[in-house]
């Protein structure tokens, strides 16, 4: 059994707005072990990004009210002061964002932005920082690293910018890397390169990866375990093989049906899930997916299903269809 690096327990989050409090996360619990890659999957608005921002402590404390606990190694992140959190951010936990185009500061050189990480978290001299930054750029496969140091973000392509972002995130050799849709904004060929790069770095540095994505192709490629999220809740949790071979939750099944399959001849059209994720605060009782679920029963409208073990390994699902099923297996 590997050591648990990150443990999120019953994480609840409410956004304070003019229209009252909106529940963004309704009790998320999961673990991330050392060296493991866990994928958070779901449509836009299901709470994936919010979860990552909560772990990083990047949500404004004035607008977001948080309950539950986030433990990293033996530190309770949600109880740290802003100053203490700053020492962890960028050093032990680092993050890559979705938009490489806008995530780098347009008025600073690449070198300055990369060196800043060392400036914030190490005692290295200016010369050493520069050497480290160049080394890091080479490590993430940026050609002419010495020249790029002096260039500005607008002189780089999207793929190169994301490589720089990865270099910045991996600069201090973090234990945990959170990647929020790292390849969504990139061309398909570049996507594959970036994913490969992330996998290589992760293997070499024994970094754990929390990967946030809506792309099941990326999940299959990268993840050890998968958490499917819907409306601020985890609706299915499974290792990657179980999830793809026998998905349980109707939502997961729906998501998998959305992937175009080139081998299957009869399936000429995509099979999307009708409707969209309910707005925050819209569902007050029952299962949040019932509106889009073809198998919804009377009970789904009244009672919210708990996350239930299914009997197949560690797979768990939040759906009444699987109540008592574990007996049968």
């Amino acid at each position: 059994m590997k050591e648990v690096l990150l443990e999120v327990k019953d994480l609840r989050l409410q956004f304070k707005t003019d229209k009252g409090e909106l529940p963004a996360l309704q009790g998320i619990s999961f673990q991330l072990k050392k060296g493991e890659t866990v994928a958070l999957v779901g449509e836009s608005g299901c709470g994936k990004s919010v979860t990552s921002l909560a772990i990083m402590g990047l949500l404004s404390r004035a607008n977001a009210q948080m309950e539950g606990s986030i433990r990293f190694r033996d530190i309770l992140l949600n109880q740290l002061s802003t100053g203490e959190l700053r020492n962890i951010r960028g050093k032990d936990i680092a993050m890559i964002f979705q938009e490489p185009m806008t995530s780098l500061n347009p008025v600073h050189t690449i070198g300055r932005q990369l060196e800043e990480v060392y400036q914030l978290h190490t005692d290295l001299s200016k010369k050493e920082r520069q050497a480290k930054a160049i080394e890091m750029l080479k490590k993430v496969g940026v050609p002419r690293a010495e020249d790029i140091m002096r260039e500005y973000p607008h002189q780089l392509s999207g793929g190169m910018k994301q490589r720089v972002m990865i270099a910045m995130a991996m600069a201090c050799n973090p234990d945990l890397l959170i990647a929020d849709e790292p390849t969504t904004a990139l061309d398909v060929t570049i996507q594959a390169q970036i994913l490969e790069l992330m996998n290589d770095l992760k293997e070499n540095d024994h970094t754990s990866l929390l990967l946030i994505t809506h792309d099941l192709g990326v999940v299959a490629e990268m993840a050890d375990r998968v958490l499917v999220m819907y409306y601020g809740e985890i609706v299915e949790e499974a290792d990657v093989v179980s999830l793809f071979s026998h998905p349980k939750h109707p939502y997961t099944i729906g998501l998998l049906r959305c992937i175009p399959d080139l081998d299957e001849e009869e399936k000429l059209r995509l099979d999307p899930i009708e409707g969209s994720v309910p707005l925050l605060g819209e569902v007050t009782q029952g299962c949040a997916f019932r509106f889009r679920c073809s198998q919804a029963e009377e009970r789904c409208y009244q009672e919210k299903p708990p996350l239930m073990a299914t009997g197949t390994g560690t797979q768990a699902v939040r759906c009444w269809l699987y109540e008592n099923k574990e007996m049968a297996v």
Binding site: R86, R89, G90, T102, N105, P106, V107, E116, H154
Partner: protein, 306 residues
């Protein structure tokens, strides 16, 4: 960069040629004969026609223009009709005060405006923010002469820290510079605030936070260089118009600057002086713009001049 500056300077010559046509025609479009103006309405027709000959007003228009523009670009802006002084000398005598005043008040406006605007943006929707917004509105809307008299009353009369009026060295310019700077600081503060609010939402600010940078560093090192870009434009425009003289403030503080020279010349219909000043101001304004554009490329690496 050098090629760009040369190109801009060449186009500046074109602009000045256009200005020269306008100010030359100005004399001929405005009613009133300069010769009559000089000699007074009781002068004999002979004296007037002799004066017209001396002034070259009897020659064809295009000849007059060529002579005029030739003199302009040779640095000869003509001679004042009243004082008999060279217009160029008059301007050069008055200009240092105006320039010092402009520089001083733009510095005051920049320091206070950018500082307050940034604080207001960081503390958005708090008391501090509202106070800044209110104060800057006061600064913008309070009339210059009122602020001037108020400052004179407190600092020059009651506390006797500064001369009440006139120029006795650079410290005499502090109160007028504050007067001018306050209104500008108000505008700069509002602009910095809205620009900074926009910048704070940007992804790269979140990146800086995710790196572990402190708020102070995020705002100063990552936010301000981006937020300040539109503010520099405004500072440049303000500086340009201040270089053309601040009439009200110069009058209240009895300063012999470009603004008061303009007022004197206009009230006496001293055409050569007016023409010379318009030409000079156009030159200064264009040069200021060029400098602002060059500063722009320094703070925003995306702007390139080739």
């Amino acid at each position: 960069m050098r090629r760009y500056v040369i190109k801009r300077l060449l186009s500046l010559v074109g602009t000045l040629l256009g200005v020269s046509v306008l100010i030359f025609l100005m004399v001929h479009l405005i009613p009133g004969d300069p010769a009559t103006q000089i000699l007074g309405q009781f002068a004999t027709p002979e004296a007037i026609s002799q004066m017209r000959a001396t002034l070259g007003l009897d020659q064809p228009l295009w000849q007059q223009y060529l002579r005029f523009v030739g003199n302009l670009f040779a640095g000869d802006l003509g001679t004042s009709l009243f004082t008999g002084e060279k217009v160029w000398d008059q301007i050069i005598n008055r200009f240092p005060i105006t320039m010092q005043l402009a520089i001083l008040s733009v510095i005051i406006a920049a320091i206070f405006g950018i500082l307050l605007g940034t604080i207001a943006a960081v503390k958005q929707n708090t008391i501090v923010d509202r106070l800044v917004v209110l104060t800057s509105l006061l600064g913008i809307s309070a009339p210059g002469f009122w602020i001037a008299l108020f400052l004179i009353w407190i600092f020059a009369y009651k506390l006797a820290l500064f001369p009440i009026s006139g120029y006795e060295g650079i410290h005499s310019l502090l109160l007028p510079a504050i007067t001018l700077g306050m209104a500008e600081a108000g505008m700069i503060a509002r602009m910095t605030r809205s620009s900074m609010l926009e910048v704070i939402k940007q992804d790269y600010m979140r990146t800086a936070e995710a790196k572990g940078a402190a708020l102070f560093r995020i705002i100063l090192s990552h936010g301000l260089p981006n937020a300040i870009i539109p503010v520099v434009t405004m500072l440049g425009l303000q500086f340009g118009s201040l270089m053309a003289g601040a009439v009200v403030v110069e009058t209240v503080f009895s300063l012999q600057g470009i603004g008061s020279l303009a007022i004197e010349a206009i009230s006496k219909r001293d055409m050569p002086t007016i023409q010379g000043m318009v030409f000079f101001m156009a030159l200064i304004f264009a040069l200021t713009n060029l400098i602002v554009d060059l500063i722009y490329s320094r703070i925003d690496p995306r702007i390139h001049f080739d």
